[in-house]
């Protein structure tokens, strides 16, 4: 086990290096002037000053020199202040949002986590339940319906589904709304009445015992949750069903039945736990996906998460901002992937040997 974890950990720097190289490579497609946003807030209009900036930050140097400076930043010889340097958490300055990229991350990432937290449970529980039911009732009505759903579900574009939800539940019925919170909640946060312990709105609401705030937050979140669950269920049904069918054919399941166990026990206690291995992999990658910024869902519902920030910056062609966000999400994904892999190795010992 230790061996496996060490090997897996050794992969992390490699992946981080690769991801940064890919993203830095994209940055190199820009001109030196645009790239100066990595280090300074506003670029000078005067041509002479532009050249000075390029020289100071070495924007005309070879690839590897610039890459190193990008990682570690440039120290001002006079004041000793450090400009840039993603290793120090400085991802550059966002000209469209008029704030450092790291501040966007700080503001938006909790929202993405909040949404992910509330999506995980319905996504996993209902998805797995449907898959198991489909396998147990193979070729009956529920199974056929689930199979049709899994194909239609993967074909239904997220944003079309989201827009239809908005049309029915928001514009027509007015039950739920897009965005993140109502104005009075924003006012409450600004006035300091709602203490922000975690910056996750729903958790903060619970900790403050303000259930009206919680209800408001959930009303804003319910449509993205439905959308995200809906797409993921389609894959979960597929994978759970096929894995469950495979397991139900195993000899030990026949033995369990032959011993005279109730069908319910056979399925719940004997077959299902063993059928869960591929599902765990899928669950891991789905959760990683939720944290990595669900760009489309957040954009459709105007939910201010990391994905929405990236989409906004991309639509305004603010490259330094989106690449900063990409570095951040890339790092988050590598770390969550690592955690998922280690958990998986605990569950399935076979993985450790490969």
């Amino acid at each position: 086990m230790t061996n496996y974890i060490i090997r897996r950990l050794l992969l992390v720097p490699l992946l981080l290096f690769g991801v940064t190289i890919v993203i830095f490579g994209m940055l190199q497609l820009l001109g030196p002037v645009e790239r100066s946003a990595l280090y300074i807030k506003d670029f000078p209009k005067n041509d002479k000053q532009v050249q000075a900036v390029i020289k100071q930050y070495g924007l005309d140097q070879p690839f590897y020199v610039q890459y190193w400076r990008w990682l570690t930043g440039v120290v001002d010889p006079v004041t000793g202040e450090r400009d840039g340097g993603i290793l120090y958490g400085d991802f550059g300055y966002s000209r469209t949002a008029s704030q450092p990229v790291i501040d966007i991350v700080r503001e938006r990432f909790p929202n993405t986590v909040d949404l992910a937290l509330w999506t995980i449970y319905p996504m996993l529980s209902i998805g797995i339940w449907m898959g198991v039911q489909a396998a147990v009732n193979q070729n009956k009505f529920f199974d056929q319906a689930a199979r049709v759903y899994s194909i239609v579900g993967t074909s239904f574009p997220t944003f079309v589904f989201g827009l239809l939800l908005l049309m029915l539940l928001y514009a027509k019925a007015g039950w739920f709304m897009p965005g993140k919170q109502s104005n009075w909640v924003t006012a409450l946060i600004y006035s300091g009445e709602l203490k922000q312990y975690t910056h996750l709105l729903t958790i903060d609401a619970i900790l403050n015992l303000r259930f009206d705030v919680l209800w408001d937050a959930l009303r804003h979140m319910i449509m993205p949750i439905i959308t995200l669950s809906y797409i993921n269920w389609a894959t979960f049904v597929r994978v759970t069903r096929s894995s469950m069918l495979e397991t139900l054919r195993q000899d030990y399941v026949v033995t369990a039945r032959a011993k005279g166990l109730k069908e319910k026990d056979v399925i719940n206690n004997h077959a299902r736990p063993n059928a869960m291995l591929p599902v765990v992999t899928l669950a891991g990658s789905s959760i990683v996906g939720l944290l990595g910024g669900v760009v489309i869902t957040e954009t459709v519902f105007n939910y201010p998460g990391i994905g929405k920030a990236a989409a906004d910056a991309a639509a305004q062609l603010d490259v330094v901002t989106i690449l900063g966000l990409a570095i951040f999400t890339g790092t988050i994904l590598i770390i969550t992937n690592l955690i998922v892999d280690v958990i998986y190795a605990f569950i399935d010992p076979r993985v450790r040997l490969t």
Binding site: L14, L15, G18, V19, V22, M26, L27, L29, L30, N139, I151, V152, T154, S155, F156, P157, T158, F159, V160, L163, L164, L166, M167, L168, Y170, A171, K172, P178, R238, R241, S242, L245, E246, G289, G292, G293, V295, I296, T299, V300, N302, G307, A310, A311, A313, A314, A315, L317, D318, V319, I322, L323, A326, T329, G330, L333, I334, N337
Partner: protein, 348 residues
């Protein structure tokens, strides 16, 4: 042949019967070969894939006959004609006053109208949705074909080099694949197209290049694992023993036998590519405003979410078209997978 069969002493009788039965080989099977014939037969026999093929066939017809269905207005047929500059979307059936197209022969018989009206309404800025849907089909096929072919080619090249040479080369290529796979696809495609847009201008190119750059890894992995298993076969050894060059063994002997699963994945991928492309345009990346492209019409809806119940047609028509298109490919891909891998039949 028959003597061979009868010498099998025991075993599965059903299997024996099957091998013994003198199946008639039709002209089609003789011309296209057994493998392809089996695939075609499976495709025609499965109702879901028939539905899928009908859907795609309709879309192909629409794409081919786009100039007849929606006669181009102005020089660029891919620009949705606009009937003025009013902000609000106009309902289906509202009269068409400016930039009226010629009336095609089918128009009166199908709609019963004398004059052109906005059949499916107009989007914001009075872009005609009907034109967007019809000409958008061509956009979808174009982007789909180019991106799928390019990603499959890159995937095949990377995967086969990795698998055939093995060792360090394999390690390097597969680690590069890992790195690209770590990055979330839609986000990276979005970012890369945003980087390319100032360089190449607003067109179909930036999102397509971005999708190619971040889309080849799946194919590379599949083809690599298939080649790895085929590489050990005796006929490859025979080819090596007879002194053939590496490249020739790879392209003439290994690839043709390893390529089927990748091709299936590619058909499945077609729908996904069109979907991602539409998603990128929905997010505001890609073609200039007014280009006939499903994602873009849908992106107009983002400005009207408070009154989508009144302007349902800007979501429903392009949304339905896109869904049907993707569904068609997925239905075909699903059946293809079953046919090519009978062990998986009914399981996925």
């Amino acid at each position: 042949m028959t003597t061979q069969n009868t010498t099998i002493p025991t075993g599965d009788n059903r299997l024996l019967e099957e091998t013994r039965s003198t199946k008639k080989v039709g002209w089609l099977e003789r011309t296209v070969g057994t493998d392809l014939y089996r695939i075609l037969k499976g495709m025609v026999k499965t109702p879901t894939s028939v539905i899928g093929m009908i859907l795609i066939f309709i879309f192909i017809l629409i794409a081919i006959f786009a100039p007849v269905i929606a006669p181009p207005v102005g020089n660029d047929p891919y620009k949705m004609p606009r009937d003025g500059f009013m902000g609000e979307p106009q309902a289906p059936g509202s009269p068409w006053t400016r930039n009226v197209p010629e009336i095609p022969f089918w128009y009166k018989a199908v709609t019963g109208n004398e004059e052109w009206v906005h059949l499916l309404g107009t989007a914001q800025g009075q872009y005609d949705i009907f034109y967007g849907v019809i000409w958008g089909t061509r956009t979808a096929f174009q982007t789909g074909f180019i991106v799928v072919i390019a990603t499959v080619l890159i995937g095949i090249i990377m995967g086969s080099i990795a698998a055939y040479y093995g060792g360090g080369v394999d390690n390097i290529i597969m680690r590069i694949t890992d790195i690209f796979m770590t990055l979330p696809y839609i986000m990276m495609a979005l970012i890369f197209s945003a980087v390319l847009t100032p360089i190449l201008g607003r067109s179909l190119l930036p999102p397509m290049i971005a999708m190619i750059t971040f889309g080849w890894m799946g194919y590379a992995r599949i083809i690599r694992s298939d080649i790895l298993s085929i590489k050990e076969r005796d006929y490859v050894l025979a080819a090596k023993a007879s002194g053939l060059k590496n490249g020739r063994i790879l392209f003439k002997h290994i690839l043709p036998n390893a390529i089927y699963p990748t091709l299936v994945l590619a058909t499945l991928g077609f729908g996904d590519v069109v979907l991602s492309f539409a998603a990128l345009s929905f997010l505001g990346i890609g073609t200039e405003i007014g280009y006939a492209d499903w994602g873009q019409i849908l992106s107009f809806a983002r400005n009207w979410i408070t009154s989508l119940d009144r302007y349902w047609y800007i979501v429903v028509y392009p949304g339905l078209t896109l869904t049907m298109f993707v569904l068609g490919w997925n239905l075909i891909g699903d059946t293809l997978r079953d046919v090519l891998d009978p062990r998986m039949r009914g399981k996925i």
